[in-house]
């Protein structure tokens, strides 16, 4: 999943906009954004955070400073060192796929942050934030799987249904899904997965601010999956 590989796979699959969200880290986002700009692919910078309840939450920001500030918050509340042998090496790359370093943190682990504090921190950003409950249909690591419901105090912009799931069936099975706009995506962990599932948007440009309008059907923007 090097920056050039990710951008190339997206373009080959006819994708115009991708979101990059590594687990508990955003250290590769800027490189993918740079590779994207060079090749005509819009890239949203974000992260998939593991809450203390082991629910996965996606957070995206338009402002790179917001993203880096958010990353610092996550890192300050994430303990443990990576075990390269069991979990793989966590490469940090530049936009030309050069290896610039490795992340030693236990990114596969859970932060000590509740879902509420993660959402609150994302919302406290200077620019626009997009916060999505990840793969809510999954048994493990989803806010529904871990808590049984979405607490009223958590205001997401959308819920994500995973790539293999039937959206209509998920909506029937999980009433909480009807309260939120629904998106779906590939959740690609390897280049072959990129583009296998996507959400279509009508937007002025590929930004968080535009996606939020689309999720709410505002000003002619649309989201469909």
């Amino acid at each position: 999943m090097s920056p050039r590989e990710v951008v190339g796979a997206a373009l080959r699959n006819g994708i115009d906009l991708i979101g990059v969200c590594d687990h508990n880290s955003a250290e590769n986002v800027l490189a993918v954004k740079k590779a994207g700009i060079r090749n005509g692919l819009a890239v949203l910078g974000g992260m998939e955070v593991t809450s203390s309840e082991e629910a996965h939450i996606l957070a995206f920001f338009d402002d790179d400073d917001d993203l880096l500030d958010f990353q610092k918050f996550i890192y300050d509340n994430l303990e443990g060192e990576n075990d390269g042998h069991t979990f793989g090496l966590q490469v940090i790359a530049d936009d030309e796929d050069g290896v610039t370093g490795f992340c030693d943190r236990l990114l596969i682990g859970a932060t000590s942050l509740t879902a509420e504090s993660i959402v609150a921190k994302a919302r406290a950003s200077k620019g626009e934030s997009l916060v999505i409950a990840a793969h809510v249909d999954r048994e493990a690591f989803s806010i529904i799987g871990q808590l049984g419901f979405i607490p009223d105090s958590l205001v997401f912009d959308a819920v994500e249904v995973s790539a293999n799931a039937n959206i209509a069936e998920v909506k029937k099975k999980i009433p909480d899904c009807v309260r939120y706009p629904v998106i779906t995506s590939s959740d690609a962990h390897s280049p072959g997965d990129i583009g296998k599932r996507f959400t279509s948007f009508v937007l002025e440009e590929g930004t968080v601010a535009e996606i939020k309008k689309a999720l709410n059907g505002k000003e002619g923007r649309k989201a469909e999956c």
Binding site: E54, G80, F87, I108, G109, A110
Partner: protein, 116 residues
């Protein structure tokens, strides 16, 4: 106590790692938060959980667990089985719910840590 002894005594169904039932069980750990198991389970522990997804194998491998017991007759995912066989991690299944199973394991002499 060896894993094989527990399999016999509790009628556990062995799903993977049949060649590793000689593993010595140093104690028990029950949790359904993977981060908790990573942080607190000990080498040689038997892990009791409901999770059937493939991430349990990485947790067991990293922590050096003797094996995993799934509760309530839960069936591991196919990729869990494949990964567990590759890594030599025994996964067994009990029809019992966690509380009852752990109580019986305790009676049989399996202990947990006194305090963390």
């Amino acid at each position: 106590m060896k894993l094989g002894d527990l399999v016999k005594e509790f009628g556990l169904t062995v799903k993977t790692g049949a060649g590793h039932l000689d593993n010595e069980v140093t104690g028990g750990y029950v949790s359904d938060l993977l981060s908790d198991v990573l942080a607190h389970a000990e080498d040689g522990n038997l892990w009791v959980t409901l999770h059937i997804h493939h991430n349990i194998v990485a947790v067991a491998a990293h922590t050096g667990l003797a094996g995993i017991v799934l509760i309530q007759g839960r069936v591991p995912d196919q990729d869990t089985i494949t990964t567990a066989e590759e890594q030599g991690i025994p996964i067994m299944v009990s029809d019992l719910p966690a509380f009852e199973l752990v109580g019986r394991l305790y009676k049989a002499g399996i202990r947990g840590a006194e305090a963390l």
